[in-house]
Subunit: 195 residues, 2 copies
C-alpha cells in the first residue's frame, strides 16, 4: 500500500462519490484519496433543447441537487454521454439497439462528454470534459461478437473502451482517456485542488 | 470466462510474447488469444544515427532476430521509447535521473513510440506506432512524491501512464492510449489479422 498524496484544501471534507459505476469508483480510487460511495436516485431526463456538454452538466447538477448532503461532505456526481452526428448515444435499450449504435460509430470519430459536479452545503462547481474517439471500421462479425459476449447495455454508446472492442476497435483518442471511461480524473484532481 | 474471438489466419501458429513487461502481457491478454511469454536477452543498443521510430523498429527487429524461433511459432517483440525535444528518454539510471526526466516532461507534450515485430521462421513484419502525451505542469512536490513512492526505474521516460502520475498529471493524449502503456494493441490486432 502506497502512502497517499494529500490534497490539503479538501482534507477536512468527507469525500462521497455519488455513482454506482464500478469504473468511476476504480478511477477515483487511483488518486489515493479516502472516499465512500452513496447512490443518488434521479430520473436522468433533461430538456430536449440541450446538446453535448449542456446535457452532462445539467445531469451532474441534477444528481448533486438530489443528493441528501450533510455538512463537511464533498459530493462528486458525474454523467457521461456519447455524441455522434448531432445525436445523443446513451445506454442502449436492448441488444439490437446496441448493435445499431456500434454500426453507426464504426469507422467514424465521435465525442464523449463527461459532466462532473463538486458540491458541499456551501458551494458547487460544475464542469465538463470532452474527448474524441476514433473507431476503426468494425465488421458485423466483430460487432456481433462484442455485443453478444459483453452485453454492454449499461454503457453510453454501447461500448466500454476498457473492454475487447476498445482494444481491437479504437484506433485513436484525442483528449483524456479516463474521461471516456467515465471520469476525467486529471481535471477532477485539478478542480479538487482548486476547490 | 468469455469465449475468445478467433483470428483465423494465425490460428495454426503458437503465439509467443518475447517480453518480460507485465503491462505488455496484460494488454496482449485483452485480445483473448492464447499465448505464452518467453524472454529474449539482447543488448538494447542501437546506432547513434537512429531517431524516433527508427530506434524502436531497430530494437523490435533486433529482439526478434535474437529469438530462438521454432517452426509454427509467431513471436511478438516490442520496444517503447519516449522522445522529447530531439532527445531519447529511456529507462532512468537512478532516482535523480527519473526526477530530472519528469521535470523536463512537465508542462510539455512529448511523443511515445512503440516498435513491434511479428516474426515466424518464414516471415517478418516490423511496424511502429506514435502517440502524443501532454503533461500538465507538475509541482516538485508531485514529482518527488511519484518518483519516491512508485520508483519507476523500469519505465521509459520515468512514468507509467496507468500509475498515479498518469491520473493526476496527464492532461491529454493523441493517438493510441495502449501504445503509451507499451503495446499498440489495436494496430497489433489489425496486423495479426493481415499477417
Amino acid at each position: 500500500m502506497k502512502e497517499p498524496f494529500k490534497i490539503k484544501n479538501i482534507a477536512h471534507l468527507q469525500l462521497i462519490l455519488a455513482s454506482q459505476s464500478p469504473r468511476r469508483k476504480e478511477l477515483l480510487s487511483k488518486l489515493g484519496l479516502d472516499f465512500k460511495t452513496q447512490n443518488v436516485d434521479v430520473e436522468e431526463d433533461f430538456p430536449a433543447s440541450l446538446q453535448r456538454e449542456e446535457i452532462v452538466e445539467f445531469l451532474a447538477k441534477k444528481k448533486a441537487d438530489a443528493f441528501p448532503i450533510k455538512p463537511q461532505q464533498l459530493v462528486i456526481t458525474a454523467d457521461t454521454i456519447v455524441w455522434h452526428e448531432n445525436q445523443l448515444f446513451g445506454k442502449p435499450k436492448d441488444i439490437a439497439d446496441a448493435k445499431a449504435m456500434l454500426r453507426q460509430l464504426s469507422g467514424h470519430t465521435h465525442e464523449v462528454f463527461t459532466g462532473v459536479g463538486l458540491t458541499t452545503t456551501h458551494k458547487q462547481r460544475i464542469f465538463s470534459v470532452r474527448s474524441e474517439v476514433r473507431f476503426a471500421p468494425l465488421s458485423d462479425e466483430e460487432i456481433d461478437y462484442y455485443i453478444d459476449t459483453y452485453r454492454p447495455l449499461d454503457k453510453a454508446g454501447a461500448y466500454g473502451i476498457q473492454e475487447w472492442i476498445g482494444f481491437v476497435g479504437i484506433e485513436a483518442i484525442s483528449g483524456s482517456f479516463w474521461n471516456v471511461m467515465g471520469l476525467p480524473i486529471q481535471r477532477l484532481y485539478q478542480e479538487l485542488r482548486n476547490f
